[in-house]
Amino acid sequence: MDCVATGGNVKVLAKAIHSLSRIGEELYLESVEDGLALRSVNSSRSAFACFLLSPLFFQKYQAPSDQSFRCKMPIKSIQAVFKSLASLDRSVEKCRIQLDSEKNRLTITLHCKHGLLKTHNLSFQDCESLQAVFDKESCANVLQAQPRLMVDTVLHFPPSLEEVNLSVTSDRVWLRNHVEDDADSLRAMMTELCLSSEEFDHFAVGTQTSVTFCLKELRGLLVFADSSGLPVSMYFDEPGSPVILSVTDSVLEANFVLATLSEDSHPKKNHVNSDTKHPDTEQPPDDFMSDDMDSFLIAMETSELPGPSHVPTSPPPPTNNRKHSFIEDEALAEGPPNKKFCSLFFSSVLPTPSQLPNQTMQSQEVLASDSEDENQTETS
């Protein structure tokens, strides 16, 4: 594989990598039919991002001879290559990415001003294809706005805010911070922002709905969109279906897929409160702080699990370690996102049988400490 990016595209590439670093700790690189895909997923599999760079993004694009080339590496190592983001466009003239399949190294060469050459030989690991299932076309609601609008909106919410709720009617959009506990809601500061449909470049609301998702991961995309000036499109449906944020131009397509809180049949979303909470779950070293996010999830393509998902009975202590044991398998062709639940670590989520249509569930790995037979433990 040999790709060369020049001029301003080097900075775009660097920004894409920085955006992905807001999602997960590893960067998945895959050469696909349409170009080069850079992907990342968070540890709870509730946020996924993909930047697809078409061959035209590059001055020169030579796909790897082995068409199914894919690898992953710690995102920090590749971020280190593009460390001084601010001076990138001033100093870097050309960026070349080459694959050395014999030595399992990815070589990134930056040709800078004054003849300076920076060469980084990064080691990578083989991995399975990482692809989330989502279908933008089937979403009932589509909004498109200038990135500035979204950045300005999000500015009103404190940086520590985890979840935000987006509600739409036929002519308005509300953004509110999402507060879990009813008790807390008396003490928490509530912020509500209302935008008229006129603020949006495109406003198509098929069904009035209200979805809640994690704001933190979204910020990564907004920073990218803001710097590129490209409009951001939001596709969403009913609660439980992921919300997809997309930024597209002729040579690049970025999709951020975020899980949404499913509509709980139980009125209180806090059934995962301190009682059922895993006793020593403090802060999970993870994006989701609150384990009330019982049903966050993204439909991830995984291998079919043999049996029905089994329901955890007690929160197993090593749950937090389970997050790395999700199977990453070949993409399976799936339909539009179903209301799938993922029992996340915290053991809390127990989807009721009625809410489980077809379960391709990783729940087994999440829970029982001995159900590792299908697990492909990731070599670290």
């Binding site: 590496m73 280190a80 004054h114 003849g115 300076l116 920076k118 060469t119 980084h120 030989n121």
Partner: protein
């Protein structure tokens, strides 16, 4: 000026008096060598030399010539003492870092001799602070015996280009490898870290390269990253840097620093090569 209202009697006792209208001309350069707590001061007629050493493998020196000082009086051939550099820097910057133009701290540094503290009179905006810092017996700085005859390779670069490289160095690498060669890659900095290795190549015809002098053979030497990383401070202050290695693999980095008033001072770093221990 309050500082000069000291009685003449006091002034007679001092064997060293050095005054600066802008204390930053001293503090900035001392920050560039502040790798350790203790600094050895050696004052001669020519000026002040301050030395800091680290684990007997690295030595950093700052030279502030007598001409830099507004007043420089030395009553002996050589005056030496050792002080805690961190404390000294705290005192020199005691008025905080005011960046208001025209406002700066004036300094009068005085020393009575062996056994006496180092006395600093600092003044800013009419406020005077007197600091007395205990001194110790000065240690003998290591003589790295780096003489120009043994120099095998020498390169002079504009600091601008090296600054970026140093700030980006992979800190997970234990060593920094410096390669100087008459052919490609000419001048190369390499790191070997957790995620892989990285090379920064400076071609000899780069316009950042002011001088490229390499003997017929290429030399590649490794130096402990932890020892060299602090030199980034000196690099940040400087406009030019000379990199020299000698036949033993010892490294000499010399930085040309311009102070606030445009005067030139020098900072140099000497470093031993990282020998591979043959016990693997």
């Amino acid at each position: 000026m309050p500082l000069s209202t000291q009685s003449q009697a006091d002034a007679d006792q001092y064997i060293l008096i050095a005054s600066l209208d802008n204390a930053r001309n001293l503090s900035n350069i001392l920050k560039a060598i502040s790798l350790r707590d203790h600094a050895i001061f050696n004052a001669t007629q020519n000026g002040l030399k301050v030395t800091v050493e680290d684990s007997k493998c690295l030595q950093a020196n700052a030279f502030i010539q007598a001409e830099i000082f507004q007043e420089y009086i030395i009553k002996e051939d050589a005056v030496g003492f050792q002080v805690n550099l961190t404390v000294l820097l705290d005192c020199l910057t005691i008025f905080g870092g005011s960046t208001v133009p025209g406002v700066c701290t004036a300094l009068r540094m005085c020393y009575n001799g062996y056994g006496y503290p180092l006395t600093l009179f600092l003044e800013e905006g009419g406020v005077v602070t007197v600091c007395k810092i205990n001194t110790q017996e000065p240690e003998e700085p290591i003589d790295f015996d780096f003489c120009s005859t043994n120099v095998t390779n020498k390169v002079i670069l504009q600091s601008e280009s090296l600054k970026e490289a140093f700030s980006e160095l992979d800190m997970t690498s234990e060593v920094l490898q410096i390669t100087m060669s008459p052919s490609h890659p000419y001048f190369r900095l390499s790191t070997f870290g957790n995620s892989g290795n990285a090379h920064y190549d400076y071609p000899k015809d780069s316009d950042m390269m002011e001088l490229f002098h390499c003997t017929s053979e290429a030399s590649t030497c490794k130096y402990k990253m932890s020892l060299l990383k602090p030199s980034t401070k000196a690099l940040a202050l400087s406009c030019k840097v000379s990199v020299r290695t000698d036949s033993r693999g010892f490294l000499s980095l010399q930085y040309l620093v311009r102070n606030d008033d445009g005067q030139i001072c020098f900072v140099e770093y000497y470093c031993c090569p990282d020998e591979e221990v043959e016990e693997e």
